[in-house]
């Protein structure tokens, strides 16, 4: 404790008078007492009295008088220099985009909607008079009713300028654009079709490769319509195979009734005039005449189009063909190609289509990986399995038939003689020779010209009796117009109609119309070549393949005339195959190939291999042997090595 006492200092400060003043004790911080200890502080007192002497200086009385003060008024106004501050308005830079003016056309006369397709029923708004209204079911349940997803147009990845991207982003969703507002569309598209329309609309280079029957035509017409109405395209050239001209005209009238179009037809002068005619937004031409017409123009004088669309674009798969060269030479800003079979035989065919849509340089030969990379950006392909899950099923059945005795005799004779003939040809044999025998035998399986016997006809007759009795409709496909004409007279009781290449183009449309609307017409006999593409016959519930085509893809195209959007019930597909004949052998080869491709490449697409029979496979249909010394040896090309 003594230590603590001793270390108490005095804090001494100097007063104004100069005296020392004691302010009290002060502890240095390092000796603070421990809590609980008693601290004794000694205080010292200091006397503060100061002795002074007063001198008589004569001022004392003066100090006792009041001083004289004379008040004087002064202005209290003070000038203050204050600085003002107003928040500056931030400087704003702007960027603008003006959209092209919409083009309008006079709508055509009102017409009755097609019964086969369902019309759009826009959601009915609540009338104003209904206020106050009770809570809706959703409100009562406290849930938000799910809205239909809207399809927005996305800018293509290759659009570089901000203006281009904003142009597409700011377009309204297709559903609101098309559903009973500015543009009237007769029937509501499916969601995948909205997607296709939006995709096409935003593309300069596009290959729409939807599987047959998914509505490529409708998607294309609607996208064209949006481009034309939105001021994006003023001249469109659509090129299709000649037999499909009526189909495109009909579809344009259905899906874009207000859009004027002209078919390029007539003599050379008239066609030339049509190409240069101003004010026509859509021209429809066929491949053959366009190739001729293009050549008739002097170089560089063919009119430029904002968009050229090639339907059944596999027509230009051979890039050195005159057709392909002409299509690539057409002056255009946008290029679209449509096909359900972008590759029929070889991947190089896809290269030809890429060249048309201008995504590869001329004569480029992209490898498989490059083709696939380009496909992701420039091809839109959907299959029925993916998008039409609720579509009625397609039931395939193979009718294996025994040849009638007369047919069997004729067939065996022809085969025997044919094979003998081929063997005699030895190394002189060509695929053409074998092909001729195959055709001869196939024709006998259809019907024997000598006896007029046909086991297929007997079966067809039995089936048709049932179909006609139930009011159904059937389509029959054959490879030969001769077979079709022969069948026509025999199918007379079922109101048979004939549709093949021998029927003049102008008569074809009324035939389809009659088949659709006449309740007594139960069967339409068609050739693969003329009827397999582009026709909408979804009201037919039965398809007969009277004989087999070489490529299952073509058969699928034919079947898809009936099994497509709008079909209400299942489609029954019957393939006639005669037992122990060339048909059975062809069917086996095609089936094996199809299964192989499905295993390797997945269902639906056949990127790397041909589905058609190659020369080796055609030879393999017969066991052909030439004499070789004392024995024989197999003749014909060697089969290709397995990949």
């Amino acid at each position: 404790m003594d230590d603590v006492t001793e270390r108490v200092d005095r804090l001494v400060t100097r007063s104004v008078t100069g005296d020392d003043v004691v302010r009290g004790p002060h502890f240095t911080s390092d000796v603070l007492p421990v809590t609980g200890d008693e601290i004794t502080v000694d205080c010292e007192s200091t006397n503060l009295s100061v002795s002074t002497d007063v001198y008589a200086a004569g001022l004392n009385s003066a100090l006792q008088r009041w001083s004289k003060a004379e008040p004087q008024s002064v202005s209290l106004h003070v000038v203050v220099n204050a600085s003002g501050w107003k928040p500056p308005k931030p400087k704003v830079l702007t960027f603008g985009l003006t959209f092209p003016e919409a083009v309008t056309f006079l709508p055509s006369a009102e017409k009755k909607p097609d019964e086969d397709l369902r019309p759009i029923v826009p959601p009915k708004p609540e009338p104003e008079s209904a206020i106050p209204a009770g809570p809706t079911e959703a409100e009562l349940l406290g849930v938000e009713m799910p809205k239909k997803p809207l399809t927005r147009i996305k800018p293509p990845k290759d659009s570089l300028s901000l203006e281009d991207r904003l142009f597409y982003l700011l377009q309204p969703p297709l559903q609101t654009w098309l559903a009973g507002q500015e543009l009237i569309i007769p029937f509501e598209p499916f969601p995948y079709q909205y997607e296709g329309i939006g995709w096409l609309f935003s593309r300069s280079s596009a290959l729409l490769a939807d599987e047959m029957g998914l509505g490529k035509t409708m998607q294309t017409i609607t996208a064209i319509r949006l481009l034309v109405r939105g001021g994006q395209a003023r001249r469109v050239l659509l090129v299709c195979p000649k037999p499909l001209l009526p189909n495109w005209q009909r579809e344009f009238r259905t899906w874009a009734e207000e859009l004027p179009f002209v078919v390029v037809e007539g003599d050379t002068d008239r066609r030339k005039l049509t190409y240069t005619m101003p004010g026509v937004p859509v021209l429809i031409a066929n491949y053959e005449s366009l190739v001729r017409d293009f050549a008739a123009f002097e170089e560089g004088t063919f009119p430029k189009f904002d968009l050229v669309v090639l339907d059944e674009a596999q027509r230009i798969k051979n890039r050195t063909s005159r057709t392909a060269e002409t299509m690539r030479a057409l002056p255009r800003r946008r290029s679209w190609a449509l096909t359900g079979t972008p590759i029929e035989n070889r991947p190089e065919e896809l290269g030809a289509l890429y060249e048309f849509i201008e995504v590869v340089p001329p004569n480029a030969t992209p490898d498989l990986k490059q083709l696939q990379t380009l496909a992701k950006e420039f091809i839109l392909r959907r299959t029925k399995d993916l998008v039409m899950k609720d579509m009625p099923p397609r039931l395939d059945r193979d009718e294996i038939l025994e040849l009638s005795p007369g047919q069997r005799y004729a067939y065996d004779q022809a085969e025997k003689e044919g094979i003998v003939h081929l063997n005699e040809l030895g190394d002189q044999i060509s695929v053409q020779h074998v092909f001729e025998l195959v055709l001869r035998l196939k024709q006998i399986t259809n019907w024997d010209p000598l006896t007029n016997e046909s086991t297929k006809l007997d079966r067809l007759d039995a089936d048709m009796e049932e179909i006609a009795a139930s009011g159904g409709k059937a389509i029959l496909f054959s490879q030969w117009t001769k077979t079709i004409d022969w069948l026509a007279s025999r199918m007379e009781p079922y109101g048979a109609l004939v549709y093949h290449g021998g029927v003049p183009t102008k008569q074809r449309e009324p035939i389809l119309d009659q088949f659709k609307h006449d309740p007594d017409k139960h069967i339409l006999l068609m050739s693969y070549g003329t009827g397999a593409v582009g026709l909408n016959l979804q009201f037919a519930g039965y398809v007969f393949l009277y004989d087999r085509w070489w490529n299952p893809a073509i058969e699928d195209q034919a079947i898809n005339r009936a099994h497509r959007i709008g079909c209400k019930s299942q489609v029954i597909v019957t393939r006639f195959i005669c037992k122990d004949t060339i048909e059975e052998r062809i069917d086996r080869v095609l089936r094996e190939k199809r299964e192989l491709f499905a295993t390797i490449l997945g269902e639906g697409d056949n990127l790397n291999r041909s589905l058609s029979l190659n020369a080796s496979e055609i030879f393999g249909l017969f066991e052909l042997k030439a004499r070789h010394g004392k024995g024989t040896r197999t003749i014909g090309p060697k089969p290709p090595e397995a990949a």
Partner: protein, 174 residues
Amino acid sequence: MSGKDAQDQFRLGFLAAVEDTERGVVGGLLVTNRFGRPLEFQCTTPVKPNRTQQILYGPTLRPYLLAEVIGRTLLDKVSVKPHLVLIEADELLDLRTHVDIPVASFVAKPARDDETILRVGQQWLAFHLEFAADRAAVQKRAGQVPDTADLKEPFERIREALTETLKGPAARSA
């Protein structure tokens, strides 16, 4: 359609903004025809308030920026003038005090008749209370808009477009 007819057609303006934490606010004005088809789009470069403005404007900063700075500028710039400007937040209704065009915001369906509210398309609109004539002026043309029109939908387009502008190097702050 003649030019005069086109002029008489109801045009709607949709004003929206997107905020980027780094660069500030970008505003966009989309003018459409009565069916929602775009006629003109104007957008701003990002506007970022400074610290002084943030302190002085406090909670009123956002309405100030969107209405007085961005909205007013865009409406001055746009060459196709709308007959009605729609906004999503009613705090921006004050834009009306800076422009000569009716401004309306969305409100819930009224429980009973309300003369200050007007139905256009699928939505119910409220107007600035100090501009009583706006409702009547808009009502004259409102019938041109289809009853099925969703007037909230164009805001999604604007937001997508503004987000796209923010991606580019051109979107430098003002």
